[in-house]
Symmetry: C2
Subunit: 266 residues, 2 copies
């Protein structure tokens, strides 16, 4: 999604050229290119698909909406299995129109996980609940903290349900380091994503995630937390950023790889 | 601030006309009208000044900036005392330019409270740390949760330092009800403020606080939490909203009072 301006073949080429060994994919571009075709393209290139983003949106009260959401999530699990990734990231969904009941919405997510977890396990896919920054709580994700995500995940086996640790969403939270340790202790860190925090936030607050190094987040500090918690998996950089999308995608990917070296692994 | 388009005399007149018994004031309009003149105007009208907003911005590293911030906060305490309110709301301040150290910034706030608390006590003023929504953490307030605010406040006597409970900033937080109880148990709820949460958020996310009843927050629920925690003080409505500021101020104040009756106290 960081370079959504690239076509799927351009993305794969650019990763190979830069020595980027894996890529997190989003459902919409995968569906556009074709799920089987994407799987073959990426497999033939020797790239790992680190995660598929994203399922979720499981807070509907209306039975028909809820059934549609569950069906779409089963499809997302199937897509993940076809792509050869073991992780499907879930964004839980916001409040249904007119509702003010955050607790009820969170319980409906738990109900849905109970249905989706076993389906995912049968296909070798783990669900990774992503807490989103509290500014998204009303319209996008009622799960705002790692603690809330783990409260949900721990109702299920770790190989069915874990969490996504994304710096952009949790960096403000002084309890997050302890929650990362909690997640690691039960093998529930299913992916680790980076984006930097820059201000001012844009209208709608969706597409202002900062390039690594441009903002206020100490990336090495968060990498150290997940490593201390036993995480050895891939690190993804996921930037929703109108300014980056307006640029040449190959250039943005090269810049992102360089920033990753400079601010994360050096 | 909800009706900043009104002059000080218009504000006082409108409160009297609507039967609103108290008003929270902001420093800038008070300074423009004159601190002594405002105090006399409000006192003669029989209105209570519920709080003065706002001191704070105590995170500077530079010694000269830090000294200036402390001096300005002493002035704010003096102004509060002159206005006859016992509560000064504090917005802590964001990260200094170039810093990524949230913990260090929070510790500098604690240092400043140690200097300001006794000064405030001598003048009969309590400091009320306001946790701001985590979307403000970088540029405005490194204190994002009631738990963090109480961790700071509890280093000092309750009659020196407590917290501001504002629905807009904490409604997403499932641990906030327990923290309100914690604050109430030691007499640290120094004020209670309301604003509703509406989306989409505007650019910069400052001036999109929703009119009571327009958004996702159950006001009665939060009122019940502070009451269960023993709070019997005033309830303030504080709306930063470009659309409301563009309207006739008397009309907005009347609407706000009606919404308060409908969504909070009925």
């Amino acid at each position: 999604m960081t370079v959504k301006q690239l076509s799927m073949p351009e993305l794969v080429d650019s990763c190979l050229e830069l020595g980027v060994p894996g890529v997190g994919l989003w459902r919409e571009p995968v569906q556009s290119y074709g799920v089987e075709a994407t799987a073959k393209l990426v497999r033939d290139a020797g790239l790992t698909v680190t995660t598929l983003c994203r399922g979720g949106f499981l807070t509907a009260i209306d039975p028909a909406e809820r059934a549609a959401a569950l069906a779409d999530n089963r499809l997302a699990i199937d897509e993940a299995a076809t792509l050869g990734t073991d992780t499907l990231v879930l964004v839980s969904g916001g409040l249904p129109t007119g509702s003010k009941d955050l607790h009820g919405a969170r319980e409906r997510i738990a109900d849905a996980l109970g249905e989706l977890g076993p389906y995912a396990e049968e296909r070798g896919v783990k669900l990774a609940i992503e807490p989103l920054h509290p500014m998204y709580v009303a319209d996008r994700c009622v799960v705002s903290t790692l603690a809330q995500a783990l409260d949900l995940a721990e109702r299920f086996p770790a190989h069915q349900v874990g969490v996504t640790v994304d710096t952009y969403h949790i960096w403000w939270d002084d309890t997050a380091p302890a929650q990362i340790a909690r997640a690691g202790a039960t093998g529930r860190i299913h992916t680790f994503q980076l984006a930097d925090w820059t201000t001012p936030l844009p209208e709608g607050v969706l597409n202002g995630r900062g390039q690594i190094g441009d903002g206020s987040i100490d990336m090495r500090e968060w990498k150290a937390y997940v490593e201390a918690a036993g995480y050895t998996g891939p690190i993804e950089v996921e930037l929703f950023n109108d300014a980056l999308w307006a640029r040449d995608g190959r250039e943005v990917l090269a810049e992102t790889a360089a920033r990753f070296v400079e601010h994360v692994i050096q």
